[in-house]
């Protein structure tokens, strides 16, 4: 895989993508609500969100298959909002791959170059180069129906990068692959993107996919960008309850802030009270949010607060044990490392929960 790049290196002249105030409605259905995003040159960027959040609509809007009601899309500083799809030079890999069944792999990959009236010899060279890049040069004369799902996916990628697009758009490219292939192909995609240095936008509903291969992620819900950041930022400092919940498991405890003698306390519904450290800012109506690994069972460490709870159930997850623990009226998940031979907490038994308030968050919405 260390061969010199057969396709002219795009990294040097990678472009950024600017999405400004984009709005889109289908009738009374407001699909995109004032989207503003800046995707840096050469970045691997993800639109992440549940189905119906508008992520695919936004991607198709960049490709020109949807028309925005307002706002503009700039690629490399140039407004492409009013160009038809075939003039945009943004390559898209479709969820279904959309390989044409009546053409061989080679013809599929050559298509975009033929449409651009590239000289024949040049087409042959670039098709071979693109196929070599995805490791499928030996299958050039097969038909798409004779390829496996993973191979079809790679042909779809080769077909798109053969035209040397300014931006690469990937619409859930891993969703039609089985679990094992998915892990392998996503690594290949990341590797390819790094070598080409191509600005890439990746649409997915799978947070693990987005976390593992993307530089930055825009979490979307209900037609609105909820938060933009690196995978770690989003996990550690979610801006709101939706992001906290969507990325990984989050324990959310509703309650009420009370003041007594100059000190603040958080009364969790169901009668459990914990003190709020002096320096922490708690917004109005906030809930206490923490990850399962930010609490422990039994003894609590220094700086931890201690809460009483009752074990409801347990799940064995391999390296960890996940306990469901009742705190007042709410139930939280708490992970403990699994050591063979260790006695388990039985359902119904009372436990002491140690919670590190430094890692906990107070989120109002």
């Amino acid at each position: 895989m260390n061969q010199p790049l057969p396709i002219s290196s795009l990294g040097a002249n990678a472009v950024d993508v600017d999405i400004r105030n984009v709005d889109l409605s289908y009738g009374s259905n407001h699909v995109l609500k004032g989207i503003n995003l800046h995707i840096r040159a050469g970045e691997f960027f993800a639109f992440l969100g549940p189905s119906g959040c508008g992520k695919t609509t936004l991607l198709r809007l960049i490709a020109g298959f949807n028309q925005a009601d307002g706002g503009e899309v700039l690629v490399g500083g140039r407004d492409i909002s009013h160009l038809p799809p075939w003039r945009r030079d943004v390559g898209m890999v479709f969820q279904s791959y959309a390989l044409w069944p009546h053409m061989t792999v080679r013809r599929n990959v050559a298509f975009g170059l033929e449409e651009r009236k590239v000289p024949k010899a040049e087409i042959a060279r670039r098709v071979t180069a693109a196929l070599e890049l995805v490791g499928l040069a030996h299958l050039a004369d097969r038909r798409p129906s004779q390829l496996s799902g993973g191979q079809q996916q790679r042909v779809a990628v080769a077909r798109t990068i053969a035209i040397e697009p300014k931006v690469l758009l990937l619409d859930e490219p891993l969703s039609n692959l089985d679990a094992k292939m998915r892990v392998q192909v996503r690594r290949e995609l990341r590797d390819l993107q790094q070598r080409l240095g191509l600005t890439t936008i990746f649409v997915t509903h799978d947070q693990e996919e987005a976390n593992t291969i993307c530089d930055r992620i825009a979490v979307m819900n209900d037609g609105i960008v909820q938060q933009v950041g690196t995978p770690m930022e989003l996990y550690e400092k979610p801006a709101n309850l939706f992001v906290a919940n969507f990325l990984g498991t989050a324990n959310i405890l509703p309650g009420r802030v009370v003041r007594e003698g100059g000190e603040r306390f958080f009364d969790i519904e169901g009668g459990v009270r914990l003190p709020i450290p002096a320096h922490v800012v708690v917004p109005e109506g906030a809930k206490l949010v923490f990850r399962p690994q930010h609490a422990s069972l039994g003894k609590s460490g220094a700086g931890d607060v201690s809460l009483p709870g009752i074990i409801a159930h347990s799940e064995f997850l391999g390296s960890t044990l996940r306990y469901g623990v009742k705190i007042g009226a709410a139930e939280v998940s708490i992970d403990t490392p699994f050591h063979s031979g260790e006695a388990l907490h039985e359902p119904g038994s009372p436990v002491e929960i140690g919670l590190s308030l430094r890692s906990a968050l107070w989120l109002a919405s």
């Binding site: 799809p85 075939w86 390559g91 969820q95 959309a98 044409w100 975009g112 449409e115 077909r159 035209i163």
Partner: protein, 580 residues
């Protein structure tokens, strides 16, 4: 699903103890299979085999010979007929394509108000036998028909729409173009939108995109429709006869057998040629389709994107659609006018209108309608019973050779009606009924011929209906104690009912207007079905009025049935969707 089936079977102790029995079937199933096989052998394989046998043997001695084919090749009339048939079939495909292509393209690619209208009206020609429309077309497009009289008045020209072979091509194209329209529209609609978008994304647009992506993907559908039209036209007997075109193959076969005699080998030789051409066309179509199952629509993908038309595009589209629809509906309009006309000759429209023709048809000629109802009902019944049984044997049992039943029944597709008629005459003429009349003269033979002709279509309907039923529904019934037979009666048949009924109605409707096979088998007016009556009426100028009235009744009958079958299918699909 397969795993569940084996598990279900393995639970019965008899099956696990006797491994060989698992591959075979119960005695009841074997009996049913043998019964069906006997029917197919007797009424399809033997008659067709007889035709082929006679064609290849010397008259009298029964020795193998190719002399008959040499005679065929050396007779100018036959060779001319062969080329004429080929020319007419090919041109019919071309003209039908000219009608179908714009309609299919406009309705699937654009947001077009008239799309529903086109899809509905496009089917209308199919509910009228082509030879019925032929007479109306003569009156509208003939040398002294409405259109030419008007053209002569206005521009001083006449267009020979209906002269000789032109007439056959025109009538057949108008009648059969829906086959191309249906297949092509379906193919276009089954193309995933992403196929087109991927091309646009890579820089393609407009006509180039259509030529390189859309058209190749729709090609298999077009070929399927076109080859069907080719075969139908090649085999059609009544339309050329009615337009007085005799130098085509099917009319020649008919004329040889009816005028020269049942012993003359040339009718049989022509029959073999007809069968070969049918098989050839089907083979071409199958080859074109092989490995090209391009139905690319994904879940939620939707068909090709539809575009709004610009005003001028819209104007052109409406003009084209209206012109085509006028041509296509001309036979219906003409027939309706004719059925109410007193005299219609050398004038654009009839001189005056009357109800007398309908009176005559409902009086003395009502026997035709009654016969048709009886024949088509029995034929339809035979078809769905055989179709259901064959579908069950193929899909639900492991009976050895069960596919042969399917293949044999489907093979009837390749047998032109006129060939089946000749085969029945030859095979059953020597079989005497107890009262001494030949079996071939008995009306039941007409019914059997109709049943065999329509069996492939009914079989496919039953097959589809059974395929949609999950095996687990039957296994659940068996698990709760129902025997195979009780399961069929209480679970399978009720669930199949919609599909079976639709199969019956289609068989009934198409059998009601079938003529190619029956023309040869009708021995007396008292036994004649509607299509035959129509044919007899249309032969004479005086009979045209009553003939048209009878034609209108036939069209209404078939239209009603088609509509009913549509409703039934829709309803049963709703029930199934709810049960899922």
């Amino acid at each position: 699903m397969a795993g569940a089936t084996t598990a279900g079977r393995a639970q019965t102790p008899s099956a696990s103890s006797k491994r060989s029995k698992r591959l075979s079937a119960s005695p009841g199933q074997v009996a049913v299979a043998l019964g069906i096989a006997a029917f197919l052998v007797l009424f399809l394989i033997v008659p067709v085999g007889t035709v082929i046998y006679v064609a290849f043997t010397e008259k009298g001695t029964g020795e193998f010979t190719l002399v008959n084919f040499l005679d065929f090749a050396q007779t100018d009339l036959f060779i001319r007929s062969f080329w004429n048939s080929l020319y007419v079939s090919a041109m019919s495909v071309v003209v039908a394509s000219v009608f179908a292509l714009p309609l299919a393209y406009i309705t699937t690619r654009f947001e077009f108000r008239g799309a529903m209208l086109i899809q509905t009206l496009g089917f209308l020609p199919l509910i009228m036998p082509p030879f019925v429309g032929a007479v109306a077309m003569l009156l509208l497009f003939g040398r002294n028909g409405t259109v030419n009289l008007l053209l002569d008045d206005w521009f001083g020209v006449k267009v020979p729409f209906m002269e000789g072979l032109n007439g056959v091509i025109f009538v057949q194209a108008v009648h059969y173009f829906p086959f191309i329209l249906i297949n092509l529209s379906t193919a276009l609609r089954n193309i995933d939108r992403a196929m087109e978008e991927a091309a646009q994304n890579l820089g393609s647009s407009g006509f180039r995109l259509f030529r390189r992506i859309v058209f190749p993907l729709a090609m298999p559908g077009y070929i399927a429709g076109a080859s069907l039209v080719f075969v139908k036209v090649f085999d059609d007997l009544a339309t050329p006869l009615l337009l007085n075109v005799k130098d085509m193959l099917a009319p020649q076969a008919y004329l040889r057998v009816t005028s020269i005699g049942i012993a003359d080998p040339m009718g049989y030789v022509i029959s073999v040629v007809l069968i070969c051409m049918s098989i050839l066309a089907m083979w071409v179509s199958a080859r074109a389709m092989r490995g090209k199952d391009y139905a690319t629509v994904q879940r939620g993908g939707g068909g090709l994107a539809k575009r709004r038309m610009r005003p001028w595009e819209s104007a052109i589209a409406y003009a084209v659609v209206l012109l085509i629809l006028f041509l296509v509906l001309a036979p219906h309009i003409g027939l309706l006018l004719l059925s109410f006309a007193t005299v219609w000759s050398f004038s654009p429209l009839p001189d005056a209108f009357t109800l007398a023709h309908y009176g005559r048809v409902f009086g003395e000629s009502f026997i035709y309608v009654k016969n048709t109802m009886v024949y088509a009902s029995i034929a339809g019944l035979i078809d769905v019973v055989l179709g259901t049984a064959i579908a069950y044997l193929v899909l639900r049992t492991k009976l050895i050779g069960r596919e042969w039943l399917d293949w044999a029944a489907t093979a009837a597709l390749a047998i032109p009606g006129v060939v089946l008629g000749i085969g029945y005459l030859r095979t059953f003429y020597d079989v005497r009924l107890p009262n001494g009349t030949p079996l071939a003269a008995f009306w039941i033979v007409i019914v059997l011929a109709l049943a065999i002709r329509r069996l492939p279509y009914a079989l496919r309907a039953c097959y589809a209906a059974l395929q949609q039923i999950s095996v687990s529904l039957e296994e659940a019934a068996e698990n709760l104690g129902a025997t195979k037979l009780r399961t069929i009666r209480r679970v399978v048949l009720p669930l199949m009912a919609g599909g079976i009924l639709a199969g019956f109605v289609t068989s009934f409707a198409t059998a009601a207007v079938e003529l190619s096979a029956t023309l040869m088998l009708v021995q007396s007016n008292a036994d004649a079905p509607l299509a035959y009556g129509l044919y007899v009426f249309m032969q004479s100028a005086a009979g045209r009025g009553p003939g048209a009235a009878l034609g209108v009744i036939a069209v209404l009958l078939v239209a009603l049935c088609t509509f009913a079958s549509h409703l039934i299918i829709e309803k049963s699909q709703k029930v199934k969707a709810a049960g899922r």
